[in-house]
């Protein structure tokens, strides 16, 4: 899976450089977030600009990251969701769980 990371103001930003976040690749993202929290990172932002499609496994990976954040006294937030990706969060009520921002810049200001 193609993931690009960047650190800004002590926030680790993961850019998911894939068109699909699904059962084929979501374990890679789940593992990356787990690794970063275990390394001591506290604040992770996942940027989904390039993700056009997400399935229940992709949502599950993000839920796993969210739970990992809580257990490490950290936080996980999301930015730049395409409309149809956002609609999947609404369908599964996960928009009530995650803090979702319109852009990475906006999210970085709200940690």
């Amino acid at each position: 899976m193609n993931l690009k990371t960047e650190e800004k103001n002590e926030i680790l930003i993961i850019f998911v450089k894939e068109e699909r976040l699904d059962a084929h690749n979501s374990n890679d993202l789940k593992g990356k977030m787990q690794e970063l929290f275990e390394q001591g990172k506290k604040n992770i932002l996942v940027d989904l600009t390039d993700v056009r499609f997400i399935d229940s496994s992709g949502l599950g990976a993000l839920v796993s990251g969210f739970k990992n954040a809580i257990s490490h006294q950290g936080s996980l937030k999301l930015a730049s969701l395409q409309p149809q990706v956002k609609s999947m969060f609404e369908l599964t009520r996960l928009h009530r769980v995650f803090e979702i921002f319109g852009s990475t810049a906006e999210a970085v200001e709200n940690f």
Partner: protein, 144 residues
């Protein structure tokens, strides 16, 4: 066969790397419907999604991740209706015994069948010819 009817019958290895191929075929079909006057992009996404969820169900749960097995997908779509059947060779499961997700409990899993049931009008899973078939339909005309 009606001239506006599209039928696709495809078998792929029991591996998640083929999810995008099948999903893309579903999306392309949605965009070819001449007379569909609803939100075509939304329909394309939903077909991609239910195909993906149904295939993952077959690959991981029914066929137990066995890469030597095959997943068989059948799609029939007209201006009125969408029919999808996904066949597997596994042990099967009782689709009615799967509870909807508990929205107050954050679980990593358990949203696939819920998503299918939310987006399709009928969903059934039954034994057929020594295997199982997940069949789902959606009325396109009445939902447009």
């Amino acid at each position: 066969m009606d001239k506006n009817e599209i039928e696709v019958d495809i078998k792929v290895p029991n591996q998640t790397r083929y999810l995008s191929l099948i999903g893309r075929i579903g999306e392309d079909i949605a965009r070819e419907l001449d007379r569909f006057d609803g939100d075509r992009d939304m329909l394309a996404y939903h077909i991609n999604l239910v195909l993906t969820e149904a295939m993952v169900n077959a690959i991981k749960h029914a066929n137990a991740n066995d890469p030597d097995k095959m997943v068989h997908v059948y799609i029939n779509i007209t201006d009125q209706d969408l029919l999808i059947r996904v066949f597997d060779d596994g042990q099967g499961f009782n689709i009615n015994s799967i509870p909807p997700p508990d929205f107050d409990q954050l679980e990593d899993r358990g949203r696939g069948i819920f998503i299918i049931k939310q987006l399709m009008d009928t969903v059934k899973y039954e034994k057929i010819n020594g295997g199982n078939m997940l069949e789902m339909t959606k009325c396109l005309r009445c939902c447009a």
